[in-house]
């Protein structure tokens, strides 16, 4: 299966990025072979709706699982519509996080960050 991980760098050894919408890169890895591709998150510079765009990028990549830190409600809405399962990553490398996912030791994120946090986390344009 294909897994998307938010990443601070372009290597599988790069650190996991805690932010979803504004992550610099997404690493899309095939778990059976550990082959991966890197996607530039074009939404990271978007002032408004970064999470919404990033969510669509993940869906279009063909991944069915996302490992990241925090997901705002807007991105959550998009990812849920796309039937993407989201797991809370640890402050480790992308590779380590995928290993942990394979061992079922990552927690699934069902709700977006706190009650309101990130409600409009990604907006700011007028």
């Amino acid at each position: 299966m294909k897994i998307a991980v938010t990443s601070t760098g372009q290597e599988i050894s790069s650190q996991l990025e805690q932010k979803f919408g504004r992550a610099e890169y997404f690493i899309i890895a095939e778990t059976s072979t550990m082959e991966f591709q890197v996607i530039d998150n074009k939404a990271s510079l978007e002032a408004g709706g970064a999470g919404i765009q990033a969510g669509q990028t993940i869906i279009n990549s063909g991944a069915t699982v996302l490992i990241t830190g925090n997901v705002g409600p807007n991105a959550m809405k998009v990812l849920k519509s796309g039937k993407i399962k989201i797991y809370r990553g640890q402050r480790e490398s992308v590779e380590k996080n995928i290993e942990m996912f394979n061992k079922h030791s990552l927690e699934e994120i069902v709700d977006s960050v706190e009650a309101h946090h990130g409600m409009k986390n990604e907006n700011s344009s007028t």
Partner: protein, 286 residues
């Protein structure tokens, strides 16, 4: 790294003065000015610019005269009154929505990226410093704020704190400034306007789930307002981390491009600012 954003609701409460003072005291920091309409921190902070980049954060419509058949459909759909009788786009009013392009029957309209401001990166004795200036009357100040924060973060290295000067108000620039912050310090003043604006902006900060602290400037100007502000903070579980007295000497120091930290006559202000920082640092560790 901990991001601490200083905002005020009401303008002119002394936010930039407090930030400039802290910059000269706190170690291991990066500095960013997110008041992109009217940035001020660079005036007080000796620095050397290392990079300057144009920021294209908005799209504007352009009408190609040669293709345009003057049908007027674009003007009918534009909700921002941006298209003149002569079919010229007013860049100050164009929202960049592209509705005009969708209705144009002859493809005479293009949406082009335009520069809305400049981002400056600089070295200072106190840390890496990032600021920006929005072009006059440009759209998209929120995006420019986001760009400043991103640029600053990339340069943060292993610094411990990122001190960010925010902007007045409660709208898009403020929301862009506080997004992703670990703590927000609201610098208010002991006036009815200061109190009213504090109450509004505090609700916005709370909505985003960010912990806020309050510094009351000119606290001795009106003791009953100060009391009400403290009461408000108490009820909302906000720590008042500092109280700075009304001091015309601060204005005189600013006129010499100095902060209260540089002027021996303002030692009492310096002490209060240092005390404020120690309280904040303690609170943030908890």
């Amino acid at each position: 790294m901990k991001q601490i954003v200083f905002i005020s609701g009401k303008g002119g409460t002394g936010k930039s003065t407090v930030v400039a003072s802290l910059v000269k005291y706190v170690k291991n920091i990066t500095i960013a000015d997110c008041d992109v309409d009217t940035p001020n921190l660079h005036i007080l902070l000796p620095h050397k610019r290392t990079a300057k980049s144009d920021f294209t954060g908005a799209k504007l419509a352009f009408i190609n005269d040669e293709k345009c058949i003057l049908c007027g459909q674009c003007r009918d759909v534009c909700r921002f009154g941006a298209i003149s009788d002569e079919f010229v786009i007013n860049p100050m009013k164009c929202e960049g929505c592209g509705a005009c392009q969708l209705v144009c029957p002859v493809e005479a309209i293009t949406m082009d990226n335009v520069k809305i401001g400049e981002v400056y990166e600089a070295d200072s004795d106190y840390g890496m410093f990032t600021y920006a200036l929005l072009d006059i009357g440009a759209e998209g100040s929120g995006k420019l704020v986001t760009q400043v924060k991103k640029t600053s973060q990339k340069k943060s290295g292993d610094q411990i704190y990122s001190l960010i000067d925010g902007s007045p108000g409660i709208g898009c620039v403020v929301i862009a400034s506080i997004t992703g912050a670990d703590a927000v310090v609201i610098v208010t003043e002991a006036t009815l306007s200061g109190k009213s604006d504090l109450e509004r902006v505090q609700k916005v900060v709370r909505h985003f789930g960010i912990k806020s602290y309050v510094c009351i400037n000119k606290f001795d100007l009106n003791s009953s307002v100060t009391h009400d502000i403290e009461e408000f903070c108490h009820l909302n579980e906000i720590t008042v981390i500092g109280k700075i007295p009304f001091e015309p000497g601060i204005v005189k120091a600013l006129q010499q491009l100095e902060t209260p930290m540089d002027d021996v006559k303002l030692l009492h202000i310096k002490n209060e600012i240092v005390r404020m920082w120690e309280t904040l640092e303690r609170e943030m560790i908890q």
